[in-house]
């Protein structure tokens, strides 16, 4: 989604107001949960739906 929008993860982190460290946790999939406010901010910044960035993987 980031490459589609030609955006760097650092820029996205700045827009949604989270640290780059948290951004990398989010990207690596280590995050245990995501706040609705963060999800909303990401969707707003990338102009997409939650389903575009979330994916269910059977583990």
């Amino acid at each position: 989604m980031l490459t589609e929008r030609k955006m760097k993860s650092k820029e996205l982190a700045e827009i949604i107001g989270i640290t780059t460290a948290n951004m990398s946790i989010l990207k690596s999939g280590k995050a245990k949960a995501i706040r609705f406010s963060t999800l909303e901010a990401i969707c707003k910044a990338l102009d997409c739906q939650p389903s575009d960035i979330l994916e269910y993987v059977e583990g």
């Binding site: 989270i18 948290n22 946790i25 989010l26 280590k30 995050a31 245990k32 949960a33 995501i34 706040r35 963060t38």
Partner: protein
């Protein structure tokens, strides 16, 4: 919090040093002359005679128990020193660290073991002296409060374990 930690560290050091000096003073004042007769016997004993007589056994056990009681007091002071490592972690800002959980468990262990061992040793000491051992009086003694304190520290360790999990989860919630 840092100021409070500093004050607590100073208080802990004062307690530790006073406990250690009291212990050292007690060891110094301990009347070793009471073993003189026994020591003389050890020097002048007839080697052909059996050393294991009930009288010797009682004296030996009295000697060993007295040493063990001193040892356990040292062990209790060692337990108190773990409070310093907890305070150090808190000063670093690691409130819910594995080190703190371990330290709480260790202090709890030491408190409970100290009380149980001192209780048993006092019972044995009373029996070697042929004095009476009043179970309930011993239970009322000041040192038994360490059992509830030890249990409380165990509970605290469990709470900290849970808190650590919650903190980790919170840290990984973006």
């Amino acid at each position: 919090m840092k100021d409070n930690t500093n004050i607590l560290t100073i208080i802990t050091w004062v307690i530790l040093l006073s406990l250690a000096s009291i212990l050292l003073n007690d060891i110094r004042q301990f009347d070793f002359n009471q073993f003189k007769e026994f020591q003389n016997w050890a020097e002048s004993a007839d080697k052909n005679e059996s050393w294991f007589t009930s009288k010797n056994a009682i004296k030996w056990s009295y000697y060993v128990i007295s040493v063990a009681l001193f040892f356990f007091r040292g062990y209790l002071i060692y337990g108190f020193s773990y409070f310093l490592s907890i305070l150090k972690e808190i000063e670093k800002g690691n409130y819910f660290s594995n080190n703190n959980i371990r330290s709480f468990k260790k202090i709890g262990n030491i408190f409970i073991w100290y009380t149980i061992n001192v209780f048993v040793l006092r019972f044995l000491l009373a029996s070697t002296r042929k004095s009476t051992f009043n179970f309930f009086n011993e239970l009322k003694a000041e040192f038994t409060f360490l059992i509830p304190a030890g249990l409380a520290l165990y509970i605290l360790a469990e709470i900290f374990k849970q808190a650590k999990k919650t903190k980790e989860e919170n840290d990984l919630t973006i």
